[in-house]
Symmetry: C2
Subunit: 200 residues, 2 copies
DNA sequence: CGTAACTTGCTGAACAGCAAGCAAGCCACC
DNA sequence: GGTGGCTTGCTTGCTGTTCAGCAAGTTACG
C-alpha cells in the first residue's frame, strides 16, 4: 500500500483493515506509522538483496563471450525489475521525496563490479572506468523507466506496454541498445558527431 | 510545492503563505485544492508545450546529416529536461499515483514525428517504425532517469551528478549511446548476441 | 490437578491536531 | 453605497497516537 498509494495517502486504519485487524494494531506492533514504513522498506530491500545474491553467481558462470554475458545480464535485470513493481515504486517515491540517500541501494554496486569486469574483458583501460559507471546507470534507466511510465510517457511516444509481448519487444530493444553501447565504448563514435554537442 | 512535496503533503495554508496571502485565498481563487493542482499541471504543461514548439523548428533547420541532427536533438532534449525539474517531478508523481494517462503528454508525439523523419532519412522502412518509437522512449528514459535518481541510484553505481560538469559528462554519454543505437538500427546486431536473450 | 499471577495479542474508545471547505465579514476603492 | 478582493472563524471529517481493558494462553506454585 505504501508502494502503490504513497506514505501520506495510506492510513493505519486501511492497513489494519487490509490485514484483518483493527485500527490500533499496526501501531501496537510497529510503534508508529513511520516505523512501520521503515520496516516495509527494510523487508522489501532484504528481499531484493537476497534475490541479487542468489542471481549473481549464475551471471558470470558460463564461459560465454563478454558481449553475450552482458546481454544476458541486462536481459535478466530487465526481468528482475519488471517482476518487482513495488520495489521500484518505493524507491521512486523515496527519490521524489528527497530521502537522504539510501545505503540500501549499494546492492547496485554488485552490478558495478560485474560491469567493471566486463569492461576489463572488453579491453577498456581504467581511464574509461567512468564510462562503465555511466553505462550501468543507462542500463538501469532503460530497464526501469518504462515500468514507471507505462501509462504516461510510453503510450505518448507510441510504445504500448500492456502484455508480455510488448514487454518482450521492449526488452529486446534495450538489450540491443546496450550492446551497441559497449560496441561504441570499444570503438568511439565518429568525432564529427560527438562534436555537434555544443549547439543549444 | 506540488512537484517537490506532493499533493497530500502540500497544504493550502502553506501555499497561501508562500504566495504572501492568507490560507483561504488559494481556495477562493481556485475553488478547491484539486482544482488548484489541475491548474498547476496545466500551466506547467503549457509552458513545456510552448518551449517544445519554439525549439522544434530550430531542430530540423540546418541541413546537417541525420546523425548530427539526432545528436543535437538528443543533446537539446537532455538540457531541456534538466532545466525543468518541476515538470519532471510532476509527471513522475502522476505516473506513480496512477493517473488515467495524460493527453497532455502528446507533445512528445512531436519527438515521435521528428524521430520518424530521421529514421526515414536513415533508410529505415516502415516495418521498423516500432524501432523508432522504442528508441524515442529510450532517449527519454536516458535524459530523464538521472534527474530523478541523482541522489539514489546514480551515486550507488558510481555516477556523481552534483555540478554542471558531471551533468555534461552524462550528456555526452547519453548522446553517444543513442547515436550507437541508431547505428545499430541501420546495421542490426550480430545475431549471435541477440539470440542470447532467451536465458533466464 | 487447580488456581493465581502474569504475559501476549488485540481491541475500541478517547484525544489532540490538522486538513479542506464554507460562509460571514472586513475594507479599500470606485 | 456597493462591489470585488481577501481574510478570518467555524464546521466537519479524518488522522496518528495513547491507553485502559479484555480474552486467551502460559507459567508458578501449592
Amino acid at each position: 500500500m505504501f508502494a502503490q498509494k504513497g506514505f501520506d495517502a495510506t492510513s493505519l486504519s486501511e492497513v489494519g483493515a487490509a490485514a484483518g485487524v483493527s485500527r490500533g494494531t499496526p501501531g501496537y506492533f510497529f510503534g508508529s506509522k513511520s516505523e512501520l514504513y521503515q520496516a516495509v522498506l527494510e523487508r522489501c530491500f532484504a528481499e531484493v538483496r537476497e534475490a541479487v545474491r542468489s542471481g549473481r553467481e549464475r551471471a558470470l558462470a558460463s564461459g560465454q563471450t563478454p558481449g553475450a554475458i552482458l546481454a544476458g545480464a541486462v536481459s535478466d535485470y530487465f526481468g528482475f525489475l519488471a517482476a518487482r513493481p513495488n520495489f521500484i515504486r518505493l524507491i521512486e517515491r523515496e527519490a521524489l521525496n528527497g530521502s537522504p540517500q539510501h545505503e540500501e541501494l549499494d546492492h547496485l554496486s554488485a552490478g558495478q563490479e560485474a560491469l567493471a569486469a566486463i569492461s576489463a574483458e572488453l579491453g577498456l583501460d581504467d581511464s574509461r572506468s567512468d564510462d562503465a559507471a555511466q553505462l550501468l546507470l543507462s542500463i538501469i534507466a532503460l530497464c526501469w523507466f518504462h515500468l514507471i511510465h507505462a501509462r504516461t510517457v510510453a503510450p505518448a511516444v507510441g510504445v504500448t506496454l500492456e502484455d508480455a509481448e510488448d514487454l518482450e519487444r521492449r526488452r529486446r530493444h534495450v538489450v540491443g541498445l546496450v550492446l551497441n553501447g559497449v560496441a561504441g565504448l570499444e570503438r568511439p563514435l565518429a568525432s564529427t558527431l560527438t562534436q555537434s554537442l555544443g549547439n543549444d
